[in-house]
Symmetry: C2
Subunit: 228 residues, 2 copies
DNA sequence: CTTTGTTCTTTGATGACTCAAAATACAGTA
DNA sequence: TACTGTATTTTGAGTCATCAAAGAACAAAG
C-alpha cells in the first residue's frame, strides 16, 4: 500500500500536469519558464511548493517515487507520472471528490470546509466504503466544486467539453458555471454567498482590463472578479 | 494533536484497564498474575500483545506517553491512564463507535467488517464531521456490538446495569442480549447468521461444564458456545 | 566566454515508530 | 539463601518523511 504521503505527491503531480496541459488564464504574457524543465513535466520547485516542503524534500521523495515506478524523473528536468502513477492519482482523486460530495450532500458540511476534511479521509477509506458512498450518492460525475470524479477504472467522465475559463468568455454572453476552480475557504464562502455555484447561469456584462477584473450579472446582481 | 499511534496505545490501555476491572469470565481459576504489576495497572507485555508490537516497543512508547502526561508508568509495575489519558481514550472510543454505527446503519456495511474500517477512520474524522454523524444517527448510546458510546464530555452513558456475561447466567433463564464482546469477523458472521444480535431475547437451556459450552434457545433453534 | 541568479541536488541531522537480541529484575521454588 | 524462568528494559539499528544549509548546474545577460 502506498503511504498517505506518496498518494499526496502523486496527486499533486497529477494536478500540476493537468493544470499545465490546459494553460491557466494568466494575463501576464506567460511567466517565461526559463527554458528549464521538459515539456509536460512538473518542475520540482513547483511540486515542493504545492506540497509545502523544502525543495530538497521533494527531490528525495521523487527519487523514491521513481524507484517505486510511479513517476519518471530526470534530474533537473522535472517529473512526470507513469501510467501506474496516473492510475494511482486518479484513484486518490476519486476518493477525494466522492468524499467531498458525501460531506456536502449527506453530512451537510459547508462547501468551504470539505476540501480539508476530504484531504485527510481520502487516505483511509477502503474500497468497500468508497463503493457504498458512490452508491449512496447515486454514482455522481462531479464533486461539489464541479470537478469530475474519475471512475473506478480510472477514467474521467466523458467531459462535456469541460467549459472555458470565464476570462476568455466574450462580453455579453450568457453561460452556465461548470466548475469553481479555487480551494480557498475564504473565496468559497464568498462565492456561495454570491450564488456563484456550479450549475448557476450567469451573464458576462463587462470587463476592465486595466484592473483585470470582470463583471457579471446573476440574479440581477453584478459581481466583480479577476481569475477563475 | 496526538498521533494515530498514541491514540491507539491509549485506547488499548483503556480497554485493558476496563477488562481488568470487570474480571473476564475465565473458567480457569484465574491465570495467577504472578505477583507482578500493580493493581489496576496494565502490564506492558499485555499491552505489547494488544498492540502487536514486541515488548521493547511498548516500553519505549509508554515512556513517551508518560512524558506527554497521558499515563503514569512505573518500571516493571505496569501502566495506568492519567485523567488526561482517559479523556483521550474516551474520545477515541467515541469516534470509533460512532463510526462503526454509521458504517452499519448508513452505508450498510456488514457487522463483521466495521471494526477494522473504524480502526482507520477514527484517527482522521474531525470533531465537526463527528458531530454531524452523531446527529445523523440520532445521538445513539451504543454501537452495533452493544458497546456504550462515550459522550462528547467523555462520560459513558448511564449504563443500564450493563448486563452479565452469559457464562454466569443461570440455566433456564430468559435474557436479552446487550453486547457481543468479540471482534473476530469470523465469529460475528456466525453470530449474525444465528440471529445472535444485540437486543435479541434468548433462553439459556443447558450447559456442559465438561466441554465448557452452553446451549441456548432463540427462535426455536438451539445454539452452542463457550465464552462471551 | 564569463558572470550572474535562480533552481535543483546533496549532505548531514532529526523525530516518531519499530524490531532483534542482549541484559536485568524479580517471584517462586528448591 | 541461591537458583530458575519469565516479564521487562536496554541497546543498537533501521525506515520514512522531513529540514537546513552548502554545493552544483545551467539559462540568460554581459
Amino acid at each position: 500500500m502506498p503511504s498517505a504521503t506518496v498518494e499526496d505527491y502523486v496527486k499533486a503531480i497529477y494536478l500540476a500536469q493537468e493544470a499545465a496541459a490546459s494553460p491557466p488564464p494568466t494575463s501576464t504574457p506567460t511567466p517565461r519558464r526559463r527554458g528549464r524543465a521538459a515539456p509536460g513535466a512538473v518542475p520540482l520547485g513547483q511540486l515542493a511548493l504545492a506540497m509545502n516542503v523544502v525543495p530538497g524534500t521533494a527531490t528525495a521523495m521523487v527519487k523514491a517515487l521513481s524507484e517505486a515506478g510511479l513517476v519518471k524523473y530526470q534530474s533537473r528536468r522535472g517529473v512526470r507520472l507513469t501510467p501506474g502513477g496516473e492510475k494511482l492519482a486518479l484513484h486518490v482523486l476519486r476518493r477525494h471528490r466522492l468524499i467531498e460530495l458525501f460531506l456536502v450532500r449527506v453530512l451537510h458540511l459547508d462547501w468551504s470546509e470539505v476540501h480539508d476534511e476530504a484531504e485527510a479521509l481520502e487516505h483511509v477509506v477502503s474500497e468497500k466504503v468508497l463503493s457504498r458512498l458512490d452508491h449512496l450518492l447515486g454514482y455522481p460525475q462531479t464533486d461539489p466544486h464541479g470537478d469530475p470524479i474519475p471512475s473506478t477504472t480510472g477514467k474521467l467522465p466523458p467531459a462535456p467539453a469541460r467549459g472555458r475559463p470565464l476570462s476568455i468568455v466574450p462580453d455579453g454572453e450568457t453561460v452556465q458555471l461548470l466548475r469553481v476552480d479555487n480551494r480557498d475557504p475564504e473565496f468559497l464562502r464568498f462565492a456561495r454567498a454570491a450564488g456563484l455555484l456550479p450549475g448557476t447561469t450567469l451573464t458576462l456584462t463587462s470587463r476592465t482590463p486595466a484592473a483585470s477584473t470582470l463583471t457579471l450579472k446573476l440574479n440581477k446582481k453584478p459581481l466583480t472578479l479577476s481569475e477563475s
